[in-house]
Amino acid sequence: MMRVLTAALAIASGIIVLLGYFLRQAFPLFEQLRLLLTDWAVVIAAAAVLVGILNLVSVQMEKLRNRQPGGLYGALLVFALVITFGLGLVFGTDHPFLRAAMDAVIVPVEASLLAILAVTLVYASIRLLRRRADLMSVIFLLAMLLFLIAAMPKPFGPIPLVDQLILDLTGILSTAGARGLLIGVALGTLLTGLRVLFGMDRPYGGN
């Protein structure tokens, strides 16, 4: 019974949203229902993120309780989470304390993680040639190198014609490839959505 109810709820809400998208001119009621359901989904998604964060806390506390390796790191994570959440709840997210947390922790660590990617990507490129030196790997690395040479500033300035030629050529080839990948992703999304709406896939626990 539960399976049928949850599947019916998912299918009905999905169909109403779809009708709201495609029949908004002919039936304005569907558009209003779509907006209402989307608003509900925003609240539920927000709660889902909170549940995820609560799960993160419980997993880290479990590690600490069982004295598993890395438990102390988990304690630090939970401590930082509770302090930041508490300050945000009491003072609001625009308070200077929260801004300072952004400037002191989130921005530097995010930027530094992206920065070390510059080194790891070079390492990965070298490993690629060592492990799989086939035609596709060579084309991949060649396209990357040519694009970097053409796009990056050079001490002697841009190379006339050559830079533009490389950018045009890689632009045409990569636009075609990216368009194919995008269409493929859209087709995949379409099929996955249809499978959910037909009740063939039930990722909400109705199986």
Binding site: L50, L77, V82, T189
Partner: protein
Amino acid sequence: MPLIEFVSAIVGFVLTLMVFSYLIGDTPLFRIAVYLFIGVASGYAAAVIVNDVLLARLQSLPLGDPALLVIGLIPFLLAITLLAKLFPRVAWLGNFAMAVLVGVGAATALAGALTGTLIPQAEAAVDAVDPRSLTGLAGGGVMLIGTAGTLAYFHFGAKRAADGTVKRNAAVEALAWVGRLFIAVTLGVVFAGVYTAALTALIERLNSLMLFIKSILGL
């Protein structure tokens, strides 16, 4: 420099060095920085969700209209049932909320994929072919072949041959091989873009480290 900015500059400086310690290996300093980051970022996200999404919507509920109030409270009731997902015995209670979320999400993604990607990209692929000029015809034709080839590469429909082996159609196979070339170039260009972003971040971080040291030394 105000005290709060000075403290955040010191913390940022130290955390940057701790993250950079990853270049010599997966050190405890790197782990401390990453766990601290995840904790602060999660706490910040939770605070934003509670303040700007949940409390903001609760405060805007129409208290004077009982019918609208009930409709407005439904998502909050569903949201509360999601907490049951943390306890295996009553986890099924959260399935209703998940069903609404998945249904709305699937329909939104479906409509978005159709109207935002599939139709515009297919139109752009055709529009790129300009039969009025040779360059337009050649450039657009190459792009059309590349797009079709990329799609063909991910087409895995095959038939059983007379000798029992499973093979793709020869035309699809050839188109897929061309598609692989386009995919390799595309991923190469994407890789170059990511590398450029990473290099920019590296320069910015090194610059901020130098500026902080200069400001401490009074240079």
